[in-house]
Amino acid sequence: MIVETRGLRREFRVGRIGRRRTVVAVDGIDLNIAPGEAVGFLGPNGAGKSTTIKMLTGILVPTAGELRVCDLDPVRSRRELARRLGVVFGQRSQLWWDLPLRESFTLLRAIHRVEPGAHRERLDRCIDVLGLAEFLDVPVRQLSLGQRMRGEVTAALLHAPDLLVLDEPTVGLDLVSKERLRVFLQEVNAAGEVTVLLTTHDLADVERLCRRLVVIDHGTVVADDSLTALRSTFGGARELVVELVAPAGPLDGLPGVRSVCVEADGLRQRLAFSPADTTAAALIAAVAARVDLRDVTVVEPSIEDVIRTLYATRAPS
């Protein structure tokens, strides 16, 4: 296991002296991540994601529980772990602000004591795939956010870490930059070189990169499964959207349909159904028997819906 936690717990003492209270940020998290996995770590703001990541990287000691990362005790072996870990914080930079991007990479090579040949090879690959060449000689402070993030990801990978931790790597990026980063990360992970743990609020990141999702809320794991499995458990209804030739009243009473939503004065209707009750084909046939169809589309439950359902069902009473 690359990451192994059992009953991981972290409390904070907050408030003014005399009126202190204890806040539990992480409340007994069990998390096992095997080499090569790509895990999406999700949760609303304040769910305990950052606290967990701080503990994984050794800059925060757990209040209780067991924790091993790359077979090391993160707090005790922080420096040793730093050689095996690549970390990207979307909100912070590990590059040298005043210097051309290229020089940050040279420095990181020295700091991680990477053999020059191996460094050259990895750097060339990142330059190539992430398209760094055009701004390698530009000082980091002058880079656009998208360019800088590509630099950050490169910086985190140059020492060939076993585990890459990405804390909101796509925050603030435009669609093209996001896509480019995702494709690259997916490739790196698929090549089996590095295990990926990703926190994000951008669910498209997760959809593209992660085969497995761990959702936490109020410091506990509320779901840990593949995206497909979570979708069928929490995703609720698929939707059949039918466009009609002529306006019609609500298409009530179809077998397996949970709800009907009428739009465009009855020209378009949305029929929510569960795959457990009926198939899209059967439903289309049933609709076609009643009205003239112009077009049909089947809408999968979005990952947003899945997550929203998860958060909502676990909200405190």
Binding site: L99, I111, R113
Partner: protein, 264 residues
Amino acid sequence: MLSASPYPALVRAGYRRRSVYLTASLAGLFTNTVFGLLRVAVLLAVVAQTGSTAGYDAGGVSAFVWLGQGLIAVVMLWGDGELSDRVRSGDIAIDLSRPWDLQLALLAGDLGRAGHAVLFRLAPPVAFGALLLPFRWPDDPVPTLLLFTASTVLAVVVSFSLRFLLDLSSFWLLDSRGVRSVYNGLGGVLAGLTVPLAFFPDALRGLLYATPFPAILQTPIDVFTERDGLAELLAHQLLWAVALLALGRLVLARATRKLVVQGG
């Protein structure tokens, strides 16, 4: 084969970081020179009364002023609080998650910065003063310049260690601006920037040498101008350099422990 220690690369990076801001260096140089002219005018007037004060003649005070004006940038008497800002913003987490000795890494960067300052902030005002005004050159240039180099390195280490400690106070105070501004206010007088420490009454001077301040500025100048008791002065620098570095390590360990244990 693993490559060598990362610290030489960090020294170079410290130099490079400064070299990209050439305009700022030139502006600083200009300011230092203007203030140097004011100071040298006052001090020349003082020694002109008697010909020599506390062992300083006209060439002596001129050397004192121009070396001092350059060395304030080299030792960075007034810190920029960069580390303090990183503590406050939380970026310190990145520094702590690198496989390096943080104190040594920052010292390496500071030595590189100082190297840049020697070329761009120390050499020009000294050349300016030496060419236009009476100036006391060492009688014995080679050994004196070697000793001056060693003394300047020690001065940078002492100054770095003090700034490091001040910045680390942010772990407890959150904002180190208060303590830093007190330090910045007193530093100049106590380190021997305003007037040579030799002008101070003996009792006060004895007290000052119980602190690390003379080691930051006055000692390298004294080495350059070949004043008496150099062995003791260098020993004083070395002692403070070692003691303050050790204290810095201790405080960093406490600060890290606090961060790691209490969060933040």
